[in-house]
Symmetry: C2
Subunit: 274 residues, 2 copies
């Protein structure tokens, strides 16, 4: 049975990648999913390339050992800092979130000017800027380190979050980028405050998040490289989801539901050092 | 020479413990200091007891291997969740920040009602509440998870930080705790926003942070248990400080200076897995 459906490993530093898992499950229900959240070592967004790459390679090895035959790096920081190293270390195809997000953003921009918000580490890597410039688009990147803790505090529709977002976006859209027409959410936490960001951003901005475009990239890849027996011929079944976390499983269930949009029944604890 | 001065190991999840190191160096200059910041795995304040205890025991073992003959757990979360485990695993005396802070707070309160602010994990452990109740004081604990990221963003005197602090403190001092007369800063990041907290807290509140009282507890312990040759008889010398960090040493130098109050020349990288 495990050969007949794709087994998709989804990796994130914590909970944010669940926004990508949600889109994947909606678009590709005929699959098994293995989600890994490295909650004992989160956040990645404030850490160095060396540390993030080491953690990401360990996590993706774990997912391969669990039987994943395709890997989704559902974390912008890990994709931006370590996609090459993850790909070199993996025996299965790997999809990151930066290229699908940049592709969608570039195709949505008429003015060829785009603002990208993300973690400190994602912005410092300039992964989005390079991906957008390769598509002939000018990009401004802005680190927004307070948005992740605000989302994790649950202040989704809160005056403080709106004020913080306004400070960050005013700076991002100032000084030559008033005409930018696309805002890329370069962190998987940000889709949770999309309505607030839409209010705070200049009018007529199109907001692009990588979750949906990444799910479509995965679907396209599966069509090109189907698992041993084509899953497309199988009777449609409910997706099966297994969730692994490196810190408290109780906290994962509680916080994770906010990102996934519904309750998470079973979370298994993993210690990568064992 | 190493026998003739105390070698004090100071441990924190990251930068916050530098506020304790600063007080130690001022009070006990005739000592060598080994500071360990577990920056690759910070923050501890949102993580489980099991994870924090595992990390803390590894870190203190490292400091003992480096020659520390006294350990200071300069992290409220690690003290609150794992002091017993650290003590059981250590061959040298261990001082945490909770007991010295609670002692100072209890002796400063006339009304016998105290508010403690800290991380999610510190508050959930009720370590301060137990320490204060043992001294006949009523305590209210309030988790303030956004204050650490606000300090790390450098928003020390910022309208947003003031607004967030007001929300937290209004709740903490409400509902039966209007008469509390002491506010304990139960996280080593908070001393950096002490002037702001003093403005936002009710008037006539005494603010107690654990840094100074912990340094005095260490001095008292050294007098009771002097290192092999009494350091008190030695000619006063400048303190020697070695700093170890598990993530980027460049970032440690940059952010750490904010907590220590002066530049940090040399930071050594450590990988605890090696």
């Amino acid at each position: 049975m495990s050969n007949r459906r794709p087994s998709i490993g989804v990796f994130d530093s914590g909970f944010g990648g669940l926004t990508v898992l949600k889109e994947l499950v909606a678009l590709i229900p005929d699959a098994d999913y293995l989600y890994f959240g490295d909650t004992a070592r989160l956040p990645y967004g404030s850490k160095s390339t060396e540390t993030v790459a080491k953690y990401a390679v360990e996590a993706t090895h774990f997912l391969e050992q669990q039987g994943a035959n395709l890997l989704v790096v559902a974390c912008n920081t890990a994709t931006a800092l370590a996609l090459d190293q993850i790909m070199r270390g993996a025996a299965v195809p790997v999809v990151g979130v930066v290229e699908p997000g940049a592709e969608r953003a570039a195709s949505s921009s008429k003015n060829r000017k785009i603002v990208v918000i993300g973690t400190e580490a994602t912005v410092a890597s300039h992964a989005y800027m390079k991906a957008l410039q390769a598509r002939g688009v000018q990009a401004r990147e802005k680190a927004c380190p307070l948005l992740v803790p605000l989302v994790e505090e649950g202040w989704i529709e809160h005056a403080v979050t709106e004020q913080v977002a306004r400070i960050y976006l005013d700076e991002a859209f100032g000084d030559g980028f008033q005409s930018a027409d696309v805002l890329v959410l370069g962190c998987t936490h940000y889709p949770l405050i999309k309505p607030l960001l839409q209010r705070v951003a200049p009018p007529h901005i199109t907001i692009v998040d990588s979750a949906e475009s990444t799910a479509q990239a995965v679907l396209a890849l599966l069509k090109l490289n189907p698992p041993p027996t084509s899953f497309a011929k199988e009777r449609r079944q409910l997706p099966r989801v297994r969730v692994f976390a490196t810190d408290s499983v109780e906290k994962f269930r509680r916080l994770g539901a906010r990102f996934l949009g519904h309750a998470i029944e079973d979370v298994e604890h993993v210690d990568l050092k064992e």
